[in-house]
């Protein structure tokens, strides 16, 4: 049973589906998809995004920068929106997070509209990402009081308080078919003198084309269970108390 918090730290949840480049894509697809979801996402916008693709070649690391146009379809409160671009569908949910039971139906609606619009075979990538912004009281206690996932400095390093850090790891799941990238970093606090951290859990399909469109939503449900467990595994009871669990 998942925990629910009164002061949930989630500032953004994103569920993203990427299709293989072989999937035929044309400029009419965003419009056709909009027709299917416009009741829930009535406001439309277009935005340009710069994407950097980094590849390693015998000559070294190469970067390609591409500009892609995406259509964004917003729910009335603009807190949940769908992004659609070439071979991409993403559903974003900004704070306040409406619980998984509130977010999942939006993901399902958007993904089903995509599969009704485009012939989707295998998914090249699926990602479920939860970004948490966690502010803790300004008091002289260590990170270990709040986080079980945190930087560790060995005895050979100065035992001073870290002012800034960024730590991450990638954990494999489902026989390395999936992976979750967990990162924690300091961020700018709301008020001068405060302390705030970003805990980012990015669960993704790490083996391309290993999940079909029919299996995608089940994968998302499983990913959510894993992310919930990982999140709980990253924090301490003291932090849970700050979030205030509700029944």
């Amino acid at each position: 049973m998942s925990k629910k918090y009164r002061n949930a730290p989630i500032i953004e949840a994103v569920c993203e589906f990427r299709l293989p480049s072989e999937v035929k894509w044309d400029l009419t697809i965003p419009g056709l998809l909009y027709e299917r979801i416009k009741d829930g996402f009535p406001s439309r916008e277009q935005r340009w995004f710069q994407e950097v693709e980094t590849t390693k070649t015998p000559q070294g690391v190469e970067q390609q920068v591409r500009a892609n146009e995406r259509a964004l379809f917003f729910a009335d409160d603009r807190k949940i929106f769908v992004q659609i671009g070439a071979q991409l569908l993403a559903v974003n949910c900004l704070k306040p997070y409406p619980s998984w039971n509130g977010f999942l139906p939006k993901v399902e609606t958007a993904f089903r509209a995509l599969t009704q619009t485009v012939a989707v075979g295998q998914l090249q990538r699926i990602g479920l990402r939860y970004i948490n912004r966690i502010a803790v009281p300004q008091e002289p206690v260590g990170l270990e009081e709040y986080f079980t996932f945190r930087p560790f400095l060995g005895g050979g390093l100065p035992a001073t308080t870290m002012t800034d850090f960024l730590v991450g790891c990638v954990l494999p799941f489902s026989g390395e078919r999936d992976a979750c990238k967990i990162q924690i970093a300091t961020v700018v606090p709301d008020q001068p003198g405060g302390r705030a951290f970003l805990l980012d859990l990015d669960y993704f399909l790490s083996q391309p084309d290993s999940i079909s469109a029919d299996e995608a939503l089940e994968w998302v449900e499983n990913a959510h269970r894993q992310v919930e467990n990982l999140f709980e595994g990253c924090i301490t009871e003291r932090l849970r108390d700050l979030f205030q669990e509700v029944e």
Binding site: V52, V65, L166, K181, Q183, V188
Partner: protein, 189 residues
């Protein structure tokens, strides 16, 4: 595989994102858990390419890395902007207000970054920069304001502010929000 950790400063990571010189190369791809320092794995990226790479540093497979800058999330971009501005340095009397405004006007991220960079280059050595959301008390309007404050103000000060504005103002066209570089002539603290 042992899990190692590393601590870096925000400014290291963020300046790496924004500088235009070639970045340091990345190590060989690995599939097992690994932690890398920002300097080891941050690519040199321009503002437009996505400051959220500040929060995207764990080394991944080549496949996954190919997606590392194809961003669907928006909040990391905003957090990265704030971290980078703090390293400029730009002060935030109320970061929550700025964060909220930029999140609602996410198309302003690049403009704010470049305008603050321009202002810092021109005024940084002699001034303090403060980024705030100005709330108009008479009409329902608000916009981002970068206040330039100095200990003493000379006769050319407003002209210099005008020169900064001229460098970014035309990029405001079509944006969902507004941004102003100005001063309130308060003494820099």
């Amino acid at each position: 595989m042992a899990l190692t950790s590393s601590a870096v400063t925000s400014s290291d990571a963020i300046y790496s994102d924004y500088r235009s010189s070639p970045g340091e190369s990345v190590g060989a791809p690995v599939r097992k858990p690994v932690v890398r320092s920002a300097k080891q794995s941050v690519y040199s990226l321009s503002i437009l390419r996505g400051p959220s790479d500040r929060f995207d540093l764990a080394e991944l497979t080549p496949y996954e890395r190919s997606y590392s800058s194809r961003l669907s999330q928006v909040t990391l971009r905003v957090e990265a902007l704030l971290s980078w501005l703090q390293s400029v340095p730009v002060a935030f009397p109320c970061a929550a207000d700025v964060r909220d405004y930029v999140l609602r006007h996410e198309d302003m991220v690049d403009l704010v970054a470049s305008a603050c960079q321009i202002a810092s280059t021109r005024f940084g050595k002699t001034s303090r920069l403060y980024l705030e959301v100005y709330h108009d008390p008479e009409i329902e309007d608000e916009y981002l304001t970068l206040y330039i404050r100095q200990k003493e103000y000379d006769a050319t000060f407003l002209d210099q502010i005008g020169a900064v504005r001229a460098e970014y103002e035309e990029n405001l066209a079509g944006k969902s929000g507004w941004f102003l570089v100005t001063t309130d002539f308060r003494p820099a603290r």
